[in-house]
Symmetry: C2
Subunit: 248 residues, 2 copies
C-alpha cells in the first residue's frame, strides 16, 4: 500500500520472524464490525481473543506455506496479502488477494492449500487452528459469518476463472485495474497506489511481466489511464476501460 515496499523482498522466512504482541482490546479493533468475529458479544470476543495473539509481518514475509500442515488461521487487521500456488517448475499463480478484515488459513482441514505472503506490512490476529475450530463449532454465529465470507470468496474466485480462461491480455489488465479501483481508495487526484508489483499483477492475471507492462503502456498512450512512478495509476476514461474489460 505505502511505499515501505523497499524493505519488502527479504528471503522467504517463516512466521517465527514476525513480531508477536500481547493481547489487545477487541472492542477497539479496527475491523471489529467487518471481521468474522463481528457478531460475537463482548465476552465471547474476549474468550476468542484469549486463544489468539497479534502478529506483525513485514512485506514479503510468508505466513503460511502451500501444502504444509494447517496449524494457524488468522484475521487480517491491516495490510494486504496474496494467496498463491505454484507449479513444480516454479511458475506461480496468485489465487487471491486479501485485505483488512478478511480471514486467512484453512479451518477444518489438514493442509493449507496455498501459500500466504504479505504484500505490504501487515497486522494479523492469529489463532491456532485446532483451538479456532473448536471455538467455531461452539459459536454458530461465528461459523455463519465464516460461511457467508467463504461463499463470497467462492463467487469472486469463480468469476476470476472467466478472466483467466477466456479473456485476452487487454481484457485481463483492464479488469484488474477496474477491480483495483473498487478495492483501493484513491488520493485527491484519483491516483490509486497498486498494492502489487508488475510481476505480481502478471501472477494474478496469468500473464508475463512484459505483457502487463506493454498493455499498460499502450493504454497510457491511448489516454485511458495515466501512470505515476511505479505503482501509481489514474483511470481517466473508465467507460473505455470497461469496454476493454469485456475482453476479446
Amino acid at each position: 500500500m505505502d511505499s515501505q515496499f523497499d524493505l519488502a523482498q527479504t528471503a522467504p522466512t517463516s512466521i517465527a520472524v514476525g513480531r508477536t504482541c500481547g493481547a489487545h482490546d477487541c472492542d477497539r479493533c479496527d475491523v471489529r464490525d467487518r471481521a468474522i468475529c463481528a457478531d460475537l458479544d463482548s465476552s465471547q470476543r474476549a474468550s476468542l481473543n484469549r486463544l489468539g495473539r497479534r502478529l506483525t509481518v513485514k512485506a514479503g514475509q510468508t505466513v503460511m506455506w502451500e501444502g504444509e500442515e494447517s496449524t494457524l488461521v488468522a484475521n487480517v487487521i491491516d495490510g494486504t496479502l496474496k494467496l498463491s500456488t505454484s507449479t513444480g517448475d516454479g511458475r506461480e499463480q496468485i489465487v487471491g488477494v486479501v485485505y483488512a478484515s478478511d480471514f486467512i488459513g484453512r479451518p477444518f482441514g489438514a493442509r493449507t492449500p496455498h501459500s500466504v505472503t504479505a504484500l505490504t506490512d501487515a497486522r494479523l490476529c492469529l489463532y491456532p487452528r485446532g483451538a479456532f475450530d473448536g471455538f467455531a463449532r461452539e459459536h454458530p454465529a461465528l461459523e455463519h459469518r465464516l460461511l457467508r465470507r467463504t461463499l463470497d470468496d467462492l463467487d469472486r474466485t469463480r468469476s476470476w476463472m472467466l478472466l483467466l480462461g477466456r479473456k485476452n491480455a487487454r481484457g485481463k489488465v483492464a479488469t484488474f485495474l477496474l477491480d483495483m479501483q473498487r478495492r483501493v481508495r484513491a488520493d485527491g487526484k484519483g491516483v490509486i497506489e497498486l498494492p502489487l508489483s508488475r510481476q505480481q499483477i502478471a501472477d494474478v492475471l496469468g500473464l508475463t511481466i512484459e505483457t502487463v507492462s506493454r498493455q499498460m503502456s499502450e493504454m497510457k498512450r491511448m489516454g485511458v489511464i495515466v501512470l505515476h512512478r511505479r505503482r501509481g495509476v489514474c483511470i481517466v476514461d473508465a467507460p473505455w476501460l470497461e469496454s476493454m474489460a469485456e475482453g476479446d
Copy 2:
C-alpha cells in the same frame, strides 16, 4: 450445445420445465450420508424435507441462470451438472462441475452468480432459498456441513486457477483426464465415460474444441490413453499422464 438443448433454451423461466415429484423418504436417500443433511437426525431431516421437493431434469436443461434472483438451492441426488459464466459476446467458461451429493445454488445471497445446467439427466432435492436459509440458521450442524463443503469447493476452485493461468494445453488436458479418473468410476476394462462433450471440456479448460481434440489424439498416438467412441477414455500410462499434467 447439447442435442436436447433446443427445449432448454426457452426464456429464463427457471425451473418450471422440470418434473416435480412428491416427497420422498430421506432415510433411504442415495446421498443420505454424503450430502449436507447427513448430520441431521431423522426428525430434522423430515422437517427439512417438508420445505423442499424432488425435481427431475433432462440433460441440457438449465436449472438456474447467471445473474437471476437467487430463489432456489438444491442437493444433487443423481447426475452431473455444470456451473458456468459467460462473457458479453458469448464465450463461456465452466467454473465447476457438480456430482451426486453436491450442493448447488447461492444461500444467503441475492443473486445466483453463475448458471447451472444439467450435463446428464439429473435428480435434485430442491428448496426455496429463503426457507432453506432460515432452516440452516436454526441448525448449526447443517451450516457446519455446508461450510466444510464450501471450503473444499474453494480449495478446488483455486487450484483450478493454476491450471487456467499457468498450464499449457497439454497440461490442461492431462490434468482434466486425471481429475475425471478420480471422479467417474471406470467399467471393467478401465474405460471411463466422460460426462462432458469436447466443447464442454474446452469450456472447462479455457481452450478451443480443436485444441482439446488435437491433444487427445496426440496422447492416443503416443500410447498414453486409448479412446473409445466419443466419450470413452482409458488411461493406459497414468504416470506419464501425470508428468504431462505438471504443465508447460
